[in-house]
């Protein structure tokens, strides 16, 4: 196995493109190293991107935020502007593992590991985040919900990697939230994660919303029907019940000794309602 730590994006892209065997980007390593140690992957090349300055910072601009692919999620929690704009994204990223894990791990690693239960992904998709991709044929930008194609697989092409995640600047009177549920009958694998991002119009009526669910299907799912259920409402009980029903309908969980389909499905609805309420409050609704 070869290990490389390039200092520019271009160099990294070239290394990955030219690799003969399987090449992996190393961000925090909290997934990659675990998989290497248990032997599920045997990389020919590991490219550490943390020496590339462009991956190391969170920048704020008129259009929003750019979070470098090497930024540990702990740093997101310390960025006040980001926390204010996208509290749900930050709280999701800061649910990953523990303090020790968060000092290493990244949201890009969380995304590219392509677990259905990845915590930051529902919040990123709800927030309308985009991935800035670098590859042998240059750059492209893709919505985060287009990256993961199934458990463990992504739409990234050979030689491509993600340089940064961008988040739009939230319109006024917006809020987002993420909640996850781990019934303690097992280790820390979320049974459901629910992300909600919404913007209010006049009189506290929801003008626009995005609702996502994690861990209930092979990939994180965006649930437009759930968003429609609360759009044009003030999250009255009827609207929340419709939201829950839409989320339940979007669930396709597994049935195992850790939790039945029935339970997982209903709890998904409960979590989505609760996340919606928090997002609504954060947007200034009451």
């Amino acid at each position: 196995m070869r290990y490389a730590a390039p200092t520019t994006t271009r160099e990294a892209a070239a290394l990955i493109a030219k690799a003969k065997g399987r090449a992996f980007v190393l961000a925090g390593g909290t997934d990659l190293l675990v998989r290497m140690k248990i032997g599920t992957i045997e990389p020919e090349l590991v490219v550490d991107i943390k020496r590339i300055p462009a991956t190391q910072s969170i920048t704020k601009s008129a259009t929003g935020f750019r979070i470098g692919a090497g930024v540990p999620t702990a740093a997101m929690g310390e960025n006040n502007a980001l926390k204010k704009a996208w509290p749900g994204v930050v709280e999701a990223a800061n649910l990953i593992g523990s303090d020790q894990i968060q000092n290493r791990c990244t949201i890009v690693g969380n995304l590219c590991n392509a677990s259905p239960a990845a915590d930051s992904v529902p919040a990123l998709i709800a927030a309308g985040a985009k991935a800035a991709i670098v590859g042998p044929r240059g750059r492209r930008t893709v919505a985060v919900d287009k990256i993961v194609t199934g458990p463990g697989t992504t739409s990234l092409k050979k030689g491509e990697f993600i340089e940064a995640i961008t988040l739009p600047r939230p319109p006024p009177r917006s809020g987002d939230a993420y909640l996850r549920f781990i019934p303690r009958t097992e280790m820390d694998i979320a049974v459901v994660g629910a992300g909600v991002s919404l913007t209010l119009g006049p009189n506290g009526v929801v003008k626009k919303a995005r609702v996502t669910l994690g861990a209930v299907a092979p990939t994180v799912v965006l649930v437009p029907a759930a968003a429609r259920a609360i759009t044009g409402t003030r999250l009255e009980d009827v609207a929340l019940a419709k939201l829950a029903a839409a989320c339940e309908a979007a669930c396709n969980p597994i049935d195992d000794m850790r939790g039945t389909i029935e339970y997982r499905t209903e709890v998904a609805g409960v979590l989505a309602r609760r996340a919606a309420k928090i997002a609504y409050q954060r947007a200034g609704g009451n």
Binding site: P183, R184, E186, M187, M257, G259, Y263, E266, V267
Partner: protein, 784 residues
């Protein structure tokens, strides 16, 4: 808290001596020890719950790199090794002896649980041994397994010698008197209870390393044992591994046991046998999966409980019928756990005049079930405290009031229960009162209303438990079927410079003996705490011992040290009298000083110690040296007791139960080190809450363990637990010199019943079994 610099005696919260090495990485566990030329053992284990062993083809793996030998149960049988015994024999109610199924360390003809070893691969590296083990081709003739406890006695017999899979049908108490009590009852309360199977999960998996010295023919076996002397006795007297004086067992640092390391297992037996056979040191260390599969499990009872009460709520009689899962074979203590450690505790803290219990001990094709923290007493407490709580609900009496009406009064001790035990002392009302204050019982209705307003459910549950600890008077234990006495030995060896080396037959695997026992000896002899070193866990250094289990270490092992220390003082007085030319009867000893009464003449402990080894013109009847031994045999069990109260809040939409408050007020008698005691209680409560909410060892109907990893077996963690509010009340034990009772198990004994009483209070139904997982709770909340 006492300042540790100025106070290190009995009652001081001295920081633990042993923690320096544990937190700096200098602990030495079995797997840290390596012998020159050692090889590695990996066991061949049954993939079936029940099967005949056919041909074992080892030709291919024997050719693999690094493989030294592959030995099977047939080789072991040919070498004449005996079975692993059960150390306690129980009689059935018809007077017949229990039926002990033969338990060879390595199976040779038939395997009876998944994971049962039937051979061992020895290789240069662990990996090579593992690869070779996978390449062994064994023909198994799979047989139908008996897995379900409820129907085990009507299933095919697992062992030829055991019809109906029934090991014994044991009883205790007066059946007629109990029947009569039920006939006169105004109320009868009935409850079906399941005590879920738990897996002990010590942090250090079991391990063994054996070396045979061909010159001396001595075997040295390092192993993760809670009682190395007992293990040596069994390995030599029963298994016939090697004569006792040619076998040295060392249990170095051991990372937790919770009972699971009391027993003698197939693996250490095999490792020691193999080391001699192949003339190489052999090491084995379990991986976590092996721990799940092969460490003895705990609990696993089904019970039907009936309580008879009069019109005022006085208990008249208690009837208990229990089926106890023993697993495929009887492990070392297995027979006694659901009988003498269970049935005898069914009086609880109450004056119930008539009690009758019947226990059916049953074999199944699962790993042996034996003592796990509390062993029998958590099961008894669960029976008594659940039915009392349910009775209070059904009769509409406040659960505290119902308990008070029936509690043994402080002036009724010693109290003879109808189930054999005599409680020496206690004050149950005092612990109950203190616990009620701590939880703010009066404020509960308001807290419940607040939870309900927030869409939650809230419940409160009690457990007023009793336990019998300090196992135990030898005479009583032997008369009840124990194969050994239950005394403890200790030695206090004063070195010439006045420092003290203490040898104890107790074993510390997390409990902090090196600190507690040093406090006892330092306090008694008036020598500095840091001048006392405690040695344990080595049959080559410690004369004898029965080890640590049943919260017995301080009550029995600590008492032995007091007796030995007192002998040292007595001898020291003779030496001091000689030195000071005084009458020995006129020598006083206090705070490390020997003095002549009514004079200003005195000698320090150190001066006397030195003189003991530099005997200048000693008279003929004064022996040099200052080192004394004692065997202490208690005259009764000790009876720690207390009140645990759990308060829970349930989110009905997700079924998540949060233990929002937990109060434990325990009477452990005198307390040597309150910090260590508090730590023991914390750990016990965590395990008890784990059993109530999360932990469950499950076999599928083929007898495969489906909770064989941390992915599926849920251990409690800090965020599942509230801050515990822990306090003690004290009624000193009346029959040991320290007045101590023992604290190691109480937390695990009281907490499951308290938590389940709280959950059933919140839910308004008794129809929920442990563990009360969120899905179970959720189903009840939505009315399924």
């Amino acid at each position: 808290m006492n300042d540790r610099n100025t106070d290190t005696g009995i009652g001081a919260a001295v920081l633990r001596k042993e923690d320096r090495r544990f937190i700096t990485g200098f602990g030495r566990y079995t797997d840290d020890i390596n012998e020159v030329g050692q090889c590695h053992a990996v066991f061949l284990r049954s993939p079936y719950a029940r099967a005949d062993i056919g041909e074992i083809d080892v030709s291919a793996p024997l050719e693999m790199d690094g493989v030294i030998a592959i030995l099977t149960g047939r080789d072991m049988a040919a070498d004449g090794l005996g079975d692993l015994p059960c150390g306690w024999s129980v009689k059935s109610k018809d007077g017949s002896d229990m039926i002990s199924a033969p338990h060879p360390p390595l199976a040779s003809e038939r395997v009876n649980y998944v994971g049962e070893p039937y051979g061992v691969v020895l290789a240069e590296t662990r990996q090579a041994a593992r690869d070779a083990a996978e390449a062994v081709a064994t023909d198994f003739g799979e047989l139908e397994a008996v897995v379900v406890l409820k129907t085990a006695t009507s299933s095919e017999a697992i062992h030829e010698a055991v019809p109906q899979n029934r090991c014994y049908l044991w009883e205790l108490g007066d059946e007629q008197a109990t029947d009569a009590a039920f006939q006169n009852a105004a109320h009868v309360v009935t409850l079906e209870l399941t005590n879920n199977r738990i897996i002990p999960n010590a942090i250090e998996p079991r391990a063994a390393l054996a070396t045979h010295n061909p010159a001396s023919d001595e075997i040295t076996l390092y192993t993760t044992s809670q009682n190395p002397h007992l293990a040596r006795l069994i390995l030599s007297a029963f298994v016939g591994l090697s004569p006792e004086h040619k076998l040295r067992l060392i249990a170095p640092d051991v990372g937790g046991g919770f009972g699971s390391k009391i027993f003698v297992y197939p693996e250490e037996t095999t490792v020691a046998w193999a080391a001699r056979r192949i003339a190489r040191p052999v090491k084995w260390a379990a991986d976590r999966s092996e721990s799940f599969l092969t460490d003895a499990h705990g609990r696993d009872h089904l019970s039907r409980v009936e309580l008879a009460l009069d019109a005022d709520g006085q208990f008249l009689g208690l009837r208990v019928r229990t089926t106890a899962n023993l697993g495929a074979y009887l492990s070392l203590f297995a027979a006694s756990v659901p009988t003498y450690l269970y049935g005898t505790l069914l009086a609880g803290q109450y004056r119930t005049p008539a009690i009758h219990v019947e226990v059916e001990g049953v074999y199944t094709n699962t790993v042996p079930v034996d003592a796990v923290r509390g062993a029998g007493r958590p099961e008894a407490t669960y029976v008594v405290e659940r039915i009392v709580e349910v009775a209070a609900r059904q009769l509409g009496i406040d659960p505290v009031e119902l308990r008070r009406r029936n509690m043994i009064q402080p002036d009724q001790f010693p109290y003879q229960t109808p189930v054999a035990l005599v409680y020496d002392t206690g004050n149950y009302q005092a612990s109950l009162d203190r616990a009620l204050d701590a939880i703010d019982y009066g404020g509960f209705p308001a807290r419940r209303a607040a939870s309900e307003a927030a869409g939650k459910k809230r419940g409160l549950g009690f457990a007023c438990y009793i336990e019998a600890c300090g196992l135990a008077p030898s005479q009583l234990a032997i008369s009840l079927g124990a194969g050994v006495g239950l005394y403890e030995s200790g030695e206090v060896r004063v070195n010439p410079t006045g420092s003290v080396t203490v040898f104890t037959g107790s074993h510390s695997h997390g409990q902090g003996h090196e600190t507690t026992f040093a406090q006892i000896v330092s306090d008694r002899l008036g020598v500095p705490f840091d001048d006392v070193e405690v040695v344990h866990g080595d049959t080559g250094r410690v004369e004898f011992g029965l080890g640590t289990y049943g919260s017995r270490s301080v009550a029995v092992g600590g008492s032995a040290l007091v007796v030995a220390a007192d002998k040292v003082i007595a001898k020291g007085k003779l030496i001091a009298a000689h030195m000071l030319k005084a009458d020995p009867a006129a020598i006083d000893f206090e705070s490390g000083e020997f003095s002549v009464r009514d004079s200003n003449q005195s000698l320090s402990f150190g001066e006397v110690a030195f003189a003991a080894y530099v005997p200048a013109d000693y008279p003929e009847d004064l022996e040099p040296g200052l080192s004394e031994k004692a065997f202490y045999d208690p005259e009764n069990f000790t009876f720690p007791a207390g009140t645990h109260i759990a308060e829970v809040e349930i989110d009905p939409q997700t079924g998540v139960t949060e233990v929002v408050a937990f109060v434990a007020v325990d009477d452990f008698g005198e307390v040597i080190n309150p910090m260590i005691v508090e730590g023991q209680v914390h750990g016990g409560i965590a395990q008890g809450i784990g059993q109530a909410l999360l932990e469950h060892g499950v076999y599928d109907d083929q007898g495969q363990l489906i909770t064989g990893s941390y992915m599926d077996y849920c251990m409690p963690r800090a965020d599942d637990l509230p801050d515990f509010d822990v306090d003690t009340t004290i009624t000193p034990c009346t029959h040991n010199p320290l007045g101590v009772k023992g604290c190691g198990e109480a937390g695990a004994i009281g907490s499951p019943a308290a938590v389940m009483n709280a959950i059933t209070d919140a839910l308004g139904t008794e129809e929920i079994t442990m563990p009360a997982t969120s899905e179970k709770v959720w189903r009840i909340c939505r009315g399924d």
